[in-house]
Subunit: 219 residues, 2 copies
């Protein structure tokens, strides 16, 4: 991982540490490598887990230290421990993809007055939190254009500069970046995700749909 | 109102009692009258409130008794009393358009484990509840086509037959009827509505946008 720390920052290339490289994290890692970003994937100590082609691997705290952006894409029950494993991430951009879905998929563990993003922000108050990639199915990452329209990649956060770094990464994943407001709106994005999950998996629609805002230009 | 009770049911014409004829209810009343439905509007005893052209008026309990469908479109703080004013609506279809938004617009009064629709269903357990028209702005009712695509009119409910009566009314309001699953999913539709409200009014986007699900045909 030493090469991460000496890598020159070259324009639009971003160093991204993936904490969680399952369905969502793995798909994003591949798309971002293809788009020219430098991607590292967290593995456990002594792990020989299958690497993603083009991605380096390392302990979460090491790859987080070398990255500009940390993407948290683990199941919610593992999120707090995974975040903790990153060590001190003050000043880094943290992209939270989690949804606090009950193991039964029957609903959310909490919401309305808080959100996964806000709970995680409390554990890492100096991280620059952006909620993103939680309202779209993995099969649509890199493949979300329907006719001439892309599905939306909703994001929200209170740090405008962090938002502006994450938005192009959403575009690199084939989605239309859509600013959904302050971090507290993660409450509603996580609820939209729960609706998506219910329709896809309990309702039998399957995971190949996404939301988009339709809007006419202001007159 | 006597003519309501002797009116023959003629195919797709539906008798609809509007409880609440403000922005949402008023717009829907006009669209449904135009579409050939028979619309009545609840007024208070002794009220001389401005009628909607083509709509009859009456006390909530009287128009509810003569209707197949009761549409509840009042602000959430007035919803329980308005529902109560309808009297016994066992067996009737109740369309709930409410969102439990805080007076400050800063969030929802409750959610995640319940919803306005579920709370109201408890007060009228024999009503055939359908959640609808809560995730779209009034300016889009009758005017929600963007290019070749309509915004979605999400609805959910546990009574399939009631859903199938309400879906064409959603189409008559210029939206694409979209089945969002069981009534419990009102929890998520109400959260989507809160996101819509935040973006429209706090975020400065204005009320002329709507959500749509993009999907490719099953392969």
């Amino acid at each position: 991982l030493c090469d991460l720390s000496v890598e020159e920052y070259t324009g639009s290339m971003t160093r991204i540490a993936m904490v969680g490289a399952g369905n969502v994290g793995g798909a994003l890692a591949r798309l971002w490598i293809k788009a020219g970003h430098e991607v590292s994937v967290a593995v456990r100590e002594g792990s020989s887990s299958k690497p993603i082609p083009g991605a380096s691997t390392g302990l979460a705290k090491d790859i987080a230290a070398g990255a500009e952006i940390i993407l948290l894409a683990v199941p919610w029950p593992a999120a707090k421990e995974a975040l903790s494993s990153c060590g001190n991430i003050s000043g880094k951009i943290l992209v939270d993809c989690t949804n606090p879905v009950l193991p039964t998929l029957e609903g959310l563990e909490f919401g309305t007055t808080t959100s996964a993003a806000e709970e995680l922000q409390q554990l890492a108050p100096q991280a620059r939190m952006v909620k993103a990639f939680n309202t779209i199915g993995t099969p649509l990452l890199g493949n979300a254009t329907f006719g001439s329209l892309q599905a939306d990649g909703y994001y929200c956060g209170d740090d405008g500069e962090a938002n502006s770094v994450v938005a192009p990464l959403i575009a690199d994943a084939g989605l239309r970046p859509f600013d959904a407001g302050p971090l507290r709106n993660a409450r509603y994005l996580e609820a939209m995700a729960m609706l998506w999950i219910d329709l896809a998996f309990r309702g039998g629609r399957g995971p190949t749909f996404g939301f988009r805002v339709l809007e006419r230009p202001a007159s």
